[in-house]
Symmetry: C2
Subunit: 692 residues, 2 copies
């Protein structure tokens, strides 16, 4: 019995092929053979595919680099992480510290200051001073080789004086110390291991056998690629109304939608994301609630792109013209917001490309163009592009489309279902725009399996939607927050959305206003980029029966909302507050540094975020402890076992003075504070640690 999975089947039809790669070309293809350094440096991270793709970093955000560093024998050694800017110049140099004792794993944090193609190198080195100090301390204390050890010390200090970049004053001091050591002067050894010397050497190290790794590439993006507050709207809904006299709906326009921008900006969002704004097909147009037949007046799904009026490069005539669009974009910019546009690469049967480029679509055996289907399901209102039939033609057309919207002021693209198009296409397209418009950001809307999501990030997407929406309980959330911050941040920058126009989870439906508040707090604090879909303010929570999405989905109909109505459950206030808290606390605007703290209640999640004062606007450390009651129905109490060592590198002194950024209340916390949270009044604490 043989099995597929099994070691088996030496093939018998393949032994006469021509040679392809010899050992030398195999290793050449990997950048040459690895020559181990005098002080070995291996297993460097972050590295994607062995460093053949750049890892992600963000302007102003420190990120960790790690390496396995060790040496032969007993002598002292160290490792230095060196960050190089896009011109190849050394920008930063940080001594690494061992983070996994016994496993020789070292870490340092680096921080680039501008976008571009950076790199980093890890240098292993031998440390003659510490090697000497280790032996000398033991031997001199034991009265063994006392004179000899002083002599050896003199040699070291002469080297420090002459071989490092020590300022003249310090060099003279070291020379004198060398002379005193040589003379076995009584205090000389104590001086040689003084704090002063250690601090001097930290700045002007004496290093032997410096063994640099090859450089590892980094792609550095601007801050908005990592940290932002998005707000999604269907522009046609804003200002739409039912004309009773005419008995039909009148679409909103860019002009009416622009009026909503003030409200969005007031809540503190800095990206306004527009679902597609192009002409919509009429052939097989979907009706309300995703019904197969549209009734007269149904506007159709904006994702059914393309009509005689134009395709991806055109505006839906109901919305206005390019001047109106420009005015909308200008108003957003005036309010400090950027505009994101949906990039949904699919066509309605009425799209001009269907007529002009039938070769861009799949032909069925009967000659007809294939609509989208996942048998037995059919999507006859959509023709997917077939990227394999004329890759060059399609690439150039889409590149032109993207360029056009950039030229019209769009600076972010929310890419619809990128995982249904070839990754090689995306890699090429994104490389083009990274080069030409490094400021433009692409968000991958890929709700799919982990490998695809990671790889879309690896090949160039700046951000990705995530599984956050379906992570509900304490352990799922804690694990996931740490996963996106620690395991994959070099691949995929997360964005957290409590709902989208496609997703309304049973948790939200069931939990109502409290659930909406809880998930808003988690999204706003758990990830530096979060997003809200319009209508969240009104706790729109009724699903289409049998589906986890909104009833009367805005995709298929106009959905004007009365923004002048009193807010529901204080949600507008909460969203505004969350963006304000994010603005005031730099810890919440970075991705990497998060710690989950044990709690005694399974309904209470506690995590903290931190960033060092070297990277904050006010120069002060920023530390925030978030405590959330995950149960939208009941009050819960919990003790929190604060992980003080992890809360801030180096730890925190107790008691801790904290202020709840939501309520303004101040507390003094010991190591195991008690919390009680009522989801109907305040579902969370967002505690800012007060440093004196």
């Amino acid at each position: 019995m043989k099995h597929d999975r099994h070691p088996s089947s030496r093939s018998n039809h393949s032994s006469v092929s021509t040679p392809v790669d010899t050992p030398a070309t195999v290793l050449a293809g990997h950048g040459g053979k690895f020559h181990i350094g005098r002080i070995p440096v291996l297993e460097i991270a972050p590295a994607i595919e062995g460093g053949t793709l750049p890892a992600k970093a963000t302007v102003g955000e420190p990120f960790p680099v790690r390496a396995t560093v060790f040496r032969d024998g007993h002598d002292a050694f160290g490792a230095t992480a060196v960050l190089r800017d896009p011109d190849g110049r050394e920008f930063q140099r940080v001594e690494m510290v061992e983070v996994l004792r016994g496993l020789d794993r070292y870490e340092a944090w680096l921080c680039p200051d501008r976008p571009g193609a950076w790199s980093f190198v890890i240098e292993g080195y031998s440390d003659p001073y510490r090697s000497w100090l280790h032996d000398a301390a033991i031997k001199i204390a034991g009265g063994q080789d006392v004179e000899l050890m002083h002599l050896e010390g003199a040699k070291i200090f002469r080297r420090i004086a002459t071989e490092t970049n020590l300022p003249a004053k310090h060099a003279r001091w070291c020379e004198q110390l060398a002379t005193d050591l040589q003379a076995c002067e009584k205090t000389s050894f104590e001086r040689a291991r003084s704090q002063e010397v250690l601090e001097l050497l930290a700045r002007y190290p004496l290093r032997d056998f410096v063994s640099p790794s090859r450089p590892y590439p980094l792609v550095v993006h601007r801050e908005l690629a990592m940290c932002g507050a998005w707000y999604e709207i269907f522009p046609r809904s804003e200002g739409a109304y039912f004309d009773e006299r005419a008995g039909r709906w009148i679409s909103g326009t860019f002009a009416t939608a622009a009026k909503r921008l003030d409200g969005i900006a007031k809540m503190g969002f800095n990206v306004v994301y527009l679902t597609p704004i192009h002409p919509i097909g009429t052939t097989n147009r979907k009706g309300r609630n995703n019904t197969l037949t549209a009734l007269p007046g149904d506007p159709g799904s904006p994702y059914g792109i393309g009509a005689p009026e134009g395709g991806h490069d055109a505006l839906h005539p109901d919305l206005g013209d390019f001047d109106d669009f420009a005015a909308f974009v200008d108003r957003a910019h005036e309010l400090g917001m950027e505009v994101a546009l949906d990039l949904a690469l699919q066509c309605s049967p009425d799209h001009p490309w269907v007529h002009d480029h039938p070769e861009w679509f799949s032909a069925r055996a009967d000659g007809s163009i294939a609509y989208a289907e996942n048998p037995p399901k059919k999507y006859q209102d959509i023709y997917p592009l077939n990227f394999d039939r004329d890759p060059e033609g399609i690439y150039l057309a889409i590149r032109d489309v993207v360029q056009m919207w950039i030229d019209h002021g769009v600076s972010l693209f929310r890419v619809d279902n990128p995982h249904t198009k070839p990754l090689a296409f995306w890699q090429r397209l994104l490389a083009h725009f990274h080069e030409k418009h490094p400021e433009v950001i692409f968000l991958a809307e890929a709700f799919t399996r982990p490998a695809m999501m990671r790889t879309l990030g690896a090949i160039g997407f700046h951000q990705s939607y995530t599984y956050f929406t379906w992570r509900l309980n304490k352990h799922e959330l804690g694990d996931y927050f740490q996963e996106v911050a620690r395991e994959t941040p070099h691949l995929l920058r997360p964005t957290f959305w409590p709902t989208t126009h496609d997703i309304l989870t049973p948790y939200m439906t069931d939990g109502g206003a409290s659930a909406f508040a809880i998930r808003a707090v988690l999204a706003a604090t758990g990830s530096p980029t979060w997003g809200i879909y319009s209508g969240y303010e009104f706790i729109e929570k009724t699903p289409r029966p049998g589906f986890e999405e909104q009833l009367d989905n805005e995709k298929y109909e106009y959905k004007p909302r009365n923004w002048d109505a009193p807010e529901a459950a204080g949600m507008t206030t909460l969203l505004t507050m969350l963006n304000r808290i994010r603005r005031d606390n730099a810890a919440l605007r970075q991705l990497h540094q998060i710690t989950v703290h044990p709690t005694t209640s399974d309904d209470i999640l506690c995590f903290s975020k931190h960033i060092d004062g070297a990277y904050t606007p006010d120069g002060k450390d920023s530390t925030v402890i978030v405590v959330v009651n995950l149960d939208p129905h009941h009050t819960h109490e919990s003790l929190i076992h604060l992980d003080l060592a992890a809360l801030r590198p180096g730890g925190l002194d107790l008691p801790l003075a904290v202020v709840d950024e939501m309520s303004g209340q101040e507390f003094i916390w010991g190591p195991v504070p008690f919390v009680r949270l009522d989801p109907h009044t305040q579902c969370a604490h967002i505690m800012k640690v007060k440093y004196s």
Copy 2:
């Protein structure tokens, strides 16, 4: 407050360096930018340092390759692993199967047939047949697009007939099927998804968009690099005797030691390993039991290498001359054994190199040569080489030494403490001998931290001593067996030694004969290479007080043993039996395929090993289940929850007929067999699964 570990300290003394690497050269150093394939293939394993060092494989042993493979959209895809021989020709081609559902992780097993620099490639591809079949099966069953799906099928089968290497007969059959599908002939669809077609396509696949990874390097060594039974002796002890009349010890010689070879061969060992055979220094020579002063007649440690008679390239005069050594080697070869020699790169103060090449040693500040020390400990009988002072000179000298012993018939080197010498030195030396003498095997005696041990393997050592000796309880052993087999086999081939001349654990001291039996069984079955230190037959278990090594350590004195005495506790019989069982069961002679099975007793360990009949001498599957009572004092009983799916890929049918290769007893086992093992009579079962 700032902390070392912390993101901090943009250096202010480093901003004026010259550029080193621009983005283009950074990526060039990694073998160029990674271009994602049409069907993405990523995260390929085994790969060391991104494939810049070759992963290990062994002639005749299947090993797994893995990759993350996925695609855009819903169409079917697959992945093929291709093994290429040292000439770059395709040698084997195996379809990969998904091993982690939902994580897109694929695996195939490959097996090289000769030593050398091989490589492998993973090809992702689109599968048009399975894409069609998936849709057609659903749609035809649902009466949807029936004619169209037949037409699409006709196109596929025409492609199969013309685009694959199908033999003419099968091609005609496919053509006919295409015609029938085109005509929507009634049985044509059933035929198109018949077992016959699936088997045909397995051999002659129709693949679109084949997307090969870059090649990944493999170094393939001969079988003895992975699987062997070593036996360690001090040649001078064999035949040594105390001359009562002269009142002094007379050393054994190569001639007297050669007499012992029959006994070693009879036990089934195939490597005889000699501790150093060179002249021994007299300056600061160590006495018995590692005392600081040798008494007259104390032979000194063979690791104190070098005397006026010569150094690493000389023979200790007491042992004989090169003719005697040749005779010894010849006799070993006659008996089917190879000879391993200790390579201990250190010198006694009397070594010729100390006189001829003082620059190869460390000079202290007072001008004297530095002896070995780890303060406050001193080892004044040893001068370590300083590889940094004249790396080229030392390299050439040691290369000559190794070459000389190879020329004298040594084919394996047990390298003493390689982790105290620079890894760059080893990488260069081993590369030289891999090229010049690919048959010669180097075993690293590095009992040190994991990173160093893994890296010694990565840069060229064929084998390594391991932590086996200190893994004692059920969970430690089970985890460790799986770790060496599954996590690091491409880096480090393990060898398991129950004791060495340096190591006698308290478990052995305390457990006596039963412990010796238990550890022999574990070593012989847990790893394809195991080793026994001479005297194991006599249960030599008395430690030097305060140390975990033998009292009257053979390093410092002659230790003749009376091989004619009756064997103790049947140990010779057991060692012989274990080597016989290893010879009879191919499963025990491979590294990768091991499974630990849950047991109800913490004192009973159960694991199994397996290899497919495609790779065994007799062409039959080999499966062995080992059950060991780890308690040397008491009888224990246990149920074993056999993991039937893991025992053999594809699973095993119950009941299982097994025969205990130790006792000859046969059993019929259900899924949860019961065992009872008395360490004083039989500490283990080594169950061979009988296939009908």
